[in-house]
């Protein structure tokens, strides 16, 4: 090299326009200049691939909102009311801002819904669940956000990602369930191969057909096997089934499937090895199956259920 541009920051300074006039003129007259100029120009035209910025915010916001705490103080309410109204307005604005880019589909309480995604994949939403995705980019990105529980039959193709508050689930073509409610994330794999990464962890756990992985409160993943006879979740066929779960989780599912509210004695919250299920079309039978099995009785008062010993 005949020039002094082997000095260790020379080309960096050339690129940022920080050479002295004399240095610049010498360099521009050199043989090498044209080659570097071409690298500089071509590299300035590079762009990184598109990404799901709006969907990312949406998923982030989901995780940012803590559960509301009950309000007990009772003095000077109106300043709070003004503040609350402002906050609501802002939230409505953000919600609308992101909603304008995302397609949302939800299943109400006591309802299930089947959704066809733009790439041909099918989703069944269980009661009280919602998905959101960017319809225009979906065919290429195959990403969606989930609140609640859904069963997926993913069309073959590139990676398919389900994000939820508790983590991210990635698959190629396969059939699986993601459940994410109240600090618990659970994935059940019926076919293909599924990767589960908890929001709090760096590592990915891989599920094979028949695997059921879950994590509560961000703790380490627990593993079990599915009923080998099951080709998909029982709730698609009109009943809910549970294998060694907390009874409270079963009660919440009853509430969602029947649009009811269950009041139960606190000691029931300690049962965490419930095994069984209930149908979705017969409340009496459902209540009997769940509560008689653990030795409790119940009273029905319209849509309120009281459980007692």
């Amino acid at each position: 090299m005949e020039n002094n541009y082997n000095e260790d920051t020379f080309l960096a300074r050339w690129l940022s326009g920080d050479l002295s006039e004399a240095e610049r003129q010498t360099f521009e007259a050199s043989e090498e200049y044209r080659a570097y100029q071409k690298i500089a120009e071509a590299s300035a035209e590079l762009r990184s691939p598109e990404w799901q910025k709006a969907a990312g915010w949406e998923a982030l916001e989901q995780q940012m909102n803590p559960k509301p705490k009950p309000q007990v103080r009772r003095r000077q309410l109106w300043p709070y009311a003004v503040a609350a109204a402002t906050v609501l307005l802002l939230i409505a604005f953000w919600f609308w801002g992101s909603a304008s880019q995302l397609t949302r589909v939800g299943a109400e309480l006591a309802e299930q819904k089947q959704v066809a995604l733009p790439d041909g994949s099918q989703v069944w939403l269980n009661a009280g669940s919602e998905i959101a995705y960017d319809a225009t980019a979906f065919a290429s990105s195959r990403q969606l956000n989930l609140r609640g529980e859904a069963y997926f039959e993913v069309a073959r193709g590139s990676q398919f990602t389900v994000r939820s508050a508790g983590g991210a689930v990635r698959v190629l073509g396969t059939r699986f369930v993601v459940y994410d409610r109240e600090e618990k994330i659970e994935v059940r794999c019926y076919a293909g191969k599924v990767g589960l990464r908890l929001a709090a962890a760096a590592e990915e756990a891989v599920l094979l057909p028949g695997d059921r992985f879950w994590s509560e409160g961000g703790r380490a993943i627990q593993r079990a096997k599915l009923d080998p006879e099951a080709a998909g979740p029982a709730w698609r066929a009109g009943e809910s089934r549970f294998d060694l779960v907390a009874l409270v989780e079963v009660i919440r599912e009853l509430e969602r499937q029947y649009r009811i509210e269950v009041q139960y004695p606190p000691e029931l919250a300690e049962i965490n090895d419930y095994r069984g299920g209930f149908p979705h079309d017969d409340l009496e039978t459902a209540l009997k199956l769940v509560f008689s099995a653990v030795g409790y009785q119940y009273r029905i008062d319209q849509n309120r259920i009281e459980v007692y010993r």
């Binding site: 960096a12 071409k38 690298i39 590299s43 990184s48 691939p49 910025k53 990312g56 929001a199």
Partner: protein, 169 residues
């Protein structure tokens, strides 16, 4: 965005995401070559910032995000070969050129991409943060927590290496 804003203020936080998430995402992408890891890392980093918002002043938020992102990745992808995919911005005048010229341009771009992928990580980061994200050396130095002189050295070295790899231009 005013530097006196609190990181815990949700609209300020949202603004931070709007302004900064692209760069953070690109940063992780340049490091790992893995788009999905990059998006997850952005989300997790911002979430950790939110949880620690009271102790991170707004002007320090970007640095905090970079630090978290780097910690999350640790050395997980250090030894993996990265394959970055780029989009090329089209130049209008290119359409008037001869097919021969266009072909050569295309080959040149492919060679350039391969050469960028083969750069050592430190050089690749600095080079792409400058070329794609248009960051100044001083800004890159702050973001990576190294001196501006070190950034300029890496940039110079990256150009020398690319030039060598590309051969006759």
């Amino acid at each position: 965005m005013d530097n006196t804003d609190s990181t815990c203020d949700k609209s300020a936080f949202r603004q931070l995401y709007e302004n900064f998430s692209d760069r953070l995402r690109n940063f992780v992408y340049y490091k790992t070559g893995r788009a999905e890891i990059a998006e997850d890392t952005v989300q997790e980093s911002f979430l950790r910032l939110w949880k620690n918002c009271a102790s991170v002043p707004y002007p320090k938020a970007q640095q905090f995000l970079y630090t978290v992102a780097q910690n999350l990745l640790r050395d997980r992808f250090k030894h993996e070969k990265v394959v970055l995919k780029f989009r090329h911005q089209h130049r209008e005048e290119a359409s008037a050129e001869s097919p021969q010229y266009l072909l050569e341009e295309k080959e040149f771009k492919q060679k350039l991409e391969r050469a960028i992928n083969a750069l050592p990580e430190g050089q690749r980061l600095v080079f792409l943060m400058n070329r794609i994200d248009k960051r100044k050396y001083r800004e890159i130095a702050e973001e990576l927590g190294i001196s501006q002189k070190a950034v300029e050295k890496r940039m110079h070295q990256a150009l020398v290496t690319l030039r060598k790899e590309l051969g006759k231009i």
